[in-house]
């Protein structure tokens, strides 16, 4: 049984505007997305900005209301359409946020920040709590003595690790990481990502990694879903997608990855041009008249593509 299974997830935001806030077409941020995350796996959601990957993650944890669809966690139905959902489900699912600056309350000390989930779900004496927070901080590579410091005394990478410490405080099974490193500089990115892999192995965690950086996704993920305008265009294992991309959108996305070797610059340029012309040529076939992708169709045991209706 999959740890997390998402079926036909839809999140629509009511569009309002015009005269007297009359209802217009809803914004279909997520429009029928489905995937499974197995235990210990990392699932990557990729897409350009506005493709609905963040909304998907937020809907799973309950920060956005579902319009329809279902999310099951260990066989249990999670969000019952109600806004916010039930609190006690959240114990096993935690989130790492994108912005390490605004995701830590500037008026709170580290002790209060990291202990917040503990205070909500576990009854610990102040002494035990301090001990746990010290351990957690040590685990993420910060000095255990910094529990009385404020977030602004730390650098971006350190702050993100404080966020991770908060997320792993309850020993969750699934962590949703919403662009966890996109606000950090490159050298720190690698550090934080490797650290995430380390705790994944140690705590048998599953990740839902949301990112627009294909390099990070390739480095981290077992399975990948590529989103475009709220729908999946292609889903499969990392190998499937990077070695045998089927959808033209995926191909175009992959061709955008910079190649380090200057000798291959010309070659890469020609390759990109070829992909681009193919994209323009085949666009009509791969997307419906609204510019949306078709439903996914399996082409192998692990690989699904939003293939055109005919051919």
């Amino acid at each position: 049984m999959a740890l997390l299974e998402v079926r036909q997830l839809k999140v629509h935001f009511p569009g309002r505007g015009g005269w007297f806030e009359s209802r217009t077409q809803p914004v279909k941020a997520v429009d029928g997305v489905g995937f499974r995350i197995e235990e210990g796996q990392t699932y990557g959601l990729v897409g350009e900005s506005g493709s609905g990957k963040t909304t998907t993650g937020r809907a799973i944890i309950g920060l956005n209301a579902l319009t329809s669809g279902s999310v099951t966690f260990q066989g249990q139905e999670l969000t019952l359409g109600k806004r916010g959902g039930k609190l006690n489900f959240r114990r096993d699912i935690q989130m790492i946020f994108q912005d390490p600056y605004s995701s830590l309350n500037p008026k709170k000390r580290l002790l209060d920040i990291v202990a917040e989930p503990l205070r909500n779900f576990e009854r610990l004496s102040p002494l035990e709590e301090k001990q746990r927070v010290r351990e957690l901080l040590e685990r993420v590579g910060l000095s255990p003595d910094s529990i009385y410091k404020y977030p602004h005394e730390f650098s971006g990478g350190q702050r993100q690790r404080i966020g991770i410490a908060r997320a792993i405080a309850l020993k969750p099974k699934l962590i949703i990481a919403d662009e966890p490193v996109s606000a950090l500089d490159l050298s720190v990115q690698a550090q934080v990502l490797n650290f995430l892999r380390e705790i994944q192995e140690e705590m048998k965690l599953s990740f839902l990694l949301i990112s627009h950086d294909l390099g990070i996704i390739r480095h981290m993920c077992d399975r990948i879903g590529i989103m475009y305008k709220g729908r999946f265009v292609e889903q499969g294992t990392t190998e499937d997608l990077f070695e045998r991309p089927q959808h033209i959108y995926t191909k175009r996305l992959l061709s955008a990855i910079p190649v380090m070797d200057p000798a291959k610059r010309e070659e890469q340029l020609r390759f990109r041009e070829a992909v681009n012309s193919e994209y323009k040529e085949a666009y009509e076939r791969y997307f419906d008249h609204d510019g949306l992708a078709y439903p996914l169709k399996p082409i192998s045991a692990t690989h699904e593509v939003a293939a055109p209706e005919k051919g």
Binding site: R58, I61, G62, L63, G84, L87, N88, R90, R91, I93, Q94, M95, F97, Q98, D99, S102, S103, L104, N105, P106, K107, K108, E116, P117, N120, F121, K149, Y150, H152, E153, G163, R166
Partner: protein, 306 residues
């Protein structure tokens, strides 16, 4: 009045905090006040007046002071009556002390009450947004369009035996609106911060997030508005009493003392009745405002002097 040159902040006098400890909000406020000499003098003045008034009023007997004494009508200042007497032979100095105490008390109580109501309504409204926000803000709008002065005047005409409590409540009923609007707008900004969502995913309830997570981030703005409102409320009470819609004569306040000046004879010939109270109002309002400005600067790192 305050003959002080605007001393620019002297950099060497700045007390440095040790690097490993972040300065607390109060110490920042205090540093800002110390850096601004006018604010410092104002603060000391307000503290001294408040302390003096509250301590001395404990020793004074209000009934004795407001008792009419036909043998001592309209006396100029003398050694017996430090600031003379009014047309009822009542000691102005004693009335001034008790009046200042009454005025300060009502201003403080009104400020606190309006602060509590305003922060509660504003926080709930801004944090939840949507329908709740809409509903609460329409209530606020309703109170805002009511003419404050007219309602107070009508109330006082209709209720003959109003006292300090009724007066406080009616002022409170109209003065929480501004704070609610202000706090709402700040809470609307604050709830979009990711730490609010992080608290949500940590399993905190809305109530807990509002008061434990969001409220501390609004504390500086709350302190600033409350300080400035305190000065405004002293002025408002005095204004209403001056017009005769504040305290009755049996409860002296700064406003009732000044209102004696409505009599042209008193205004021209017996300055000792109304001048001290007027000066005291001016000094108190100016000083609290000065302190409030310093606190305001302390709340915004870009405006700080210290």
């Amino acid at each position: 009045m305050l003959k002080l040159s605007t001393n620019k902040a002297s950099p060497q006098a700045r007390p440095r905090q040790p690097a490993d400890k972040s300065p607390s909000g109060l110490s920042i406020v205090w540093r800002e006040i110390v850096q601004d000499k006018i604010a410092l003098v104002s603060f000391i003045l307000v503290a001294a007046v408040t302390l003096f008034v509250y301590v001395t009023s404990l020793l004074l007997d209000q009934d004795q002071i407001v008792r009419v004494d036909l043998f001592a009508l309209k006396q100029p200042p003398s050694s017996e009556f430090l600031l003379g007497t009014d047309q009822g032979g009542r000691d102005i100095f004693g009335q001034l002390i008790i009046g200042t105490r009454n005025s300060l008390t009502i201003a403080i109580v009104v400020t606190l009450l309006t602060g509590i109501i305003g922060v509660l309504v504003g926080l709930v409204s801004g944090y939840f947004g949507g329908t709740i926000d809409n509903l609460l803000m329409r209530v606020v709008d309703f109170f805002m369009i009511l003419p404050f002065l007219m309602v107070v005047i009508a109330f006082i005409t209709a209720v003959p035996n109003y006292g300090i409590t009724a007066f406080t409540l009616i002022m409170t009923a109209f003065l929480w609106l501004g704070i609610a609007k202000l706090i709402r707008s700040k809470a609307l900004q604050e709830r979009e911060m990711e730490y609010v969502q992080a608290s949500r995913t940590s399993g905190s309830s809305h109530l807990k997030i509002m008061f434990v997570q969001v409220l501390p981030n609004l504390s500086s703005i709350i302190i600033v508005t409350m300080t400035l409102n305190l000065a405004a409320n002293i002025g408002l009470e005095s204004g209403l009493s001056f017009l005769g819609f504040g305290f009755p004569e049996s409860t002296p306040s700064l406003g009732t003392l000044v209102s004696y000046a409505r009599n042209p004879q008193t205004l021209e010939m017996r300055w000792w009745i109304w001048l001290p109270a007027s000066i005291l109002i001016l000094v108190l309002m100016l000083c609290i405002n000065n302190v409030g400005q310093a606190v305001k600067r302390a709340a915004d790192a870009r405006q700080r002097k210290g």
